[in-house]
């Protein structure tokens, strides 16, 4: 059972259904001298300036830094939403730096789970339907993915909201749905962009509690935040400044 940090929380979610990843010494992420440029009119912006980084499996990492420091760009590269202009990116031992778009989509689907500040749920789908989406792109049969989605929804404490649409959910419930969706294909890496930015403190703490439990089970998590409260919860804080890792 998941222990939440809030005292007036909804029914305690059961997380036991999710299997912990195998503990391993292998790095899930290895960045080697990564550069990223953006063209802004005639001006070429050097956004990432030779970032090198290793994140072992099971580590809980927070990337912090001021606006424009390059932390979101780094997260996009880690999430394969963007490609590096120079350098190498090894994801779970495979160089993904120069992969084609379709293959990147496949890797995103199988290896990465995304959690966003604004939840980004699909309004036309209910909780179960939203959780199922990543499995749809893996062509998992309907019955199987429905069972898996139900299992995940119950694990994050949404067993009583399965048929509800996003507009019928609270902020916390929406983020729980997004977390369950991120876990749908059992990815080795979870990426979160200000996951509690749109939530009140109490609900934010619930979500952080959920993250703690995932990490305790061996899940690798990388999140981008401005919130200093994370410092005490994560294993490691990476500070970005002017396109470089500064600490």
């Amino acid at each position: 059972m998941i222990a939440t940090t809030s005292t007036n929380s909804p029914p305690a979610p059961v997380y036991a259904a999710l299997e912990a990843p195998e503990p391993t010494r292998q790095n899930i992420i290895e960045l080697k001298d990564v550069h990223k440029f953006y063209q802004l009119g005639a001006k070429k912006l050097h956004v990432l300036k030779g970032v090198s980084l290793e994140i072992p499996r099971g580590q809980y990492v927070a990337i912090m830094g001021s606006s424009g420091s390059g932390k979101s760009t780094l997260l996009n590269l880690l999430g394969l939403l963007d490609v590096v202009d120079a350098g190498d990116y090894m994801l779970a031992g495979e160089n993904v730096a120069r992969m084609k778009d379709d293959l990147l989509a496949k890797h995103r689907n199988a290896r990465i789970g995304f959690i966003f500040q604004s939840f980004n749920l699909f309004p036309q789908l209910d909780v179960l339907g939203n959780i199922e989406v990543p499995m749809v792109y893996q062509n998992i049969p309907l019955q199987k993915r429905r069972a898996r989605a139900k299992e995940l929804a119950e694990a994050v404490g949404l067993g009583h909201r399965l048929g509800h649409r996003p507009r019928q959910l609270s902020g916390g419930e929406m983020q729980r749905t997004a977390i369950a969706r991120a876990l749908a294909n059992d990815p080795p890496l979870l990426l979160a962009d200000e996951p509690t930015g749109n939530l009140d403190e109490s609900t934010g703490n619930e979500i952080l509690g959920l993250f703690d439990q995932l990490v305790a089970k061996g899940q690798t998590m990388v999140l981008v935040t401005h919130n200093p409260a994370y410092k005490d919860r994560v294993h490691r804080v990476l500070r970005m400044g002017n396109g470089e890792l500064v600490g």
Partner: protein, 422 residues
């Protein structure tokens, strides 16, 4: 993402924006309805025309006498200045056909007597008097409601008997029983021996309804009135000498029609100095009519397709707006593992689903329109499974074609920018 998923997602997305989806399909609905109605009207007209030609008999050949043109190469200039024109089919042509065309089941000679006909009360009636032979009944596939048709005995005896068409009988005798009544034709009284009825109301080769004609024996006509008749022409009268106005023949097999018509044409070309005849082959007419009608249908459907085109542009417009509105969804789908082609397929299917649903409503509306036209305007219409399938197919294709570009735009959406969008 398999097809089931694509369709499911498409339907869910459309259901989320019901009003916008309904508005988007209006163009398609009216486009498909007009295509459907046009095809139905055109198909109905085709069936009606073909029915009329078929009632002339697809196994029949009709040869008509026609006045040769003044510039006809074989024309005798002196003859043109004569007081009497002489042209057309000859009795020996009829005899030749009878003797040598073995594939002919029935053949008759026909004279249109062009003479006045009077009822018992002396009233002149506008009815055609046709002099013909007994097999005329079989060739025109007519029946007798009362009495009998002309017989060989009537021919041999030069009998002054006549058969009246059902409509002609009503005009002549109104409430009286026509059988054994008298009809005066050029001073002679003819005894009515039967009433002919052609249920299909066939028009003869001259364009007259045969139910509105009076029939007398060919030999009687020749013996009593000869071959010369006087015809009104531009305010004056012209004497015309014609032995036969028509030769109508029915073949044993419709497959032989084309070959027999060619043979007949060759025979007439060889024996007539001038082109004073013309061949009517209902089967050939029917083929030509089908070809003409096909062009007509294509033209009608093309005109109706313009509204479908406008509908398609409407769909494209809506789909483009849809892509813009749903950038965040597209970005999220891409983040969750959708490939560009998954996104493209999803949007194409959404457009196709939208237009297909519009197509279904359009077909129903088109069907109702065709029904309305046939009920209130009394135009023949025909809704065929092909026209329904065509309309639905076209609506679906419209969706694919006009949804393709917006779908490509959707597939090109940059997921990072899309996820940042408000």
């Amino acid at each position: 993402m398999n097809l089931y998923e694509v369709v499911r997602v498409a339907l869910l997305d459309l259901a989320l924006h019901k009003f916008r989806s309904a508005l988007a399909t209006i163009g398609i609905i009216f486009g498909v309805a007009s295509v459907m109605a046009m095809i139905s009207i055109s198909e109905g007209a085709k069936r009606e025309t073909l029915g009329r030609i078929a009632r002339l008999g697809v196994d029949n050949i009709i040869v008509k006498s026609v006045k040769p043109s003044a510039t006809d190469e074989g024309a005798n200039q002196n003859e043109q200045r004569r007081w009497q024109a002489e042209y057309g089919l000859l009795r020996r042509d009829l005899e030749h056909v009878r003797q040598t065309f073995k594939e002919i089941r029935h053949v008759v000679g026909i004279r249109n007597m062009r003479m006045n006909l009077y009822a018992r009360n002396g009233r002149q009636l506008d009815l055609a008097v046709i002099a013909t032979e007994p097999d005329y009944l079989l060739i025109t596939r007519s029946g007798m409601t009362r009495g009998r048709f002309l017989s060989e005995l009537d021919q041999d005896n030069f009998a002054k008997v006549c058969v009246v068409g059902s409509d002609a009988a009503r005009k002549l005798f109104i409430y009286d029983d026509p059988i054994n009544q008298g009809v005066r034709i050029k001073g002679d009284w003819y005894n009515v021996i039967g009433i002919l009825d052609n249920s299909a109301a066939v028009k003869d080769a001259g364009g007259d309804d045969i139910n509105n004609q009076v029939f007398i024996p060919l030999r009687t006509a020749r013996a009593r009135y000869g071959d010369v008749s006087s015809q009104a022409q531009s305010g004056s009268f012209e004497n015309v000498k014609i032995q036969l106005d028509q030769i109508a023949m029915q073949l044993t097999d419709s497959e032989l029609v084309q070959a027999t018509a060619t043979r007949m044409e060759n025979y007439l070309a060889a024996t007539h100095k001038r082109k004073d005849y013309t061949l009517l082959v209902p089967l050939e007419l029917m083929r030509q009519k089908v070809a003409t009608q096909r062009i007509f249908t294509i033209v009608m459907a093309s005109i109706a397709s313009i509204s479908l085109l406008i509908g398609g542009i409407g769909i494209m417009n809506i789909m483009l707006a849809n892509v813009y509105d749903r950038r965040k969804e597209i970005g999220m789908r891409r983040a969750l593992g959708a490939r560009r082609k998954d996104i493209q397929r999803q949007f194409v299917f959404e457009a196709a689903t939208l237009t297909s649903l519009g197509g279904l409503v359009g077909v129903a509306l088109g069907y109702a329109g065709a029904w309305g036209v046939s009920t209130y305007a009394e135009w023949p219409t025909s809704v065929t499974p092909i026209s329904i399938a065509l309309s639905l197919g076209v609506s679906c294709i419209t969706g694919v074609v006009f949804g393709l570009w917006p779908a490509r735009q959707a597939a090109r959406v940059n997921p990072i920018e899309a996820l940042r969008a408000d």
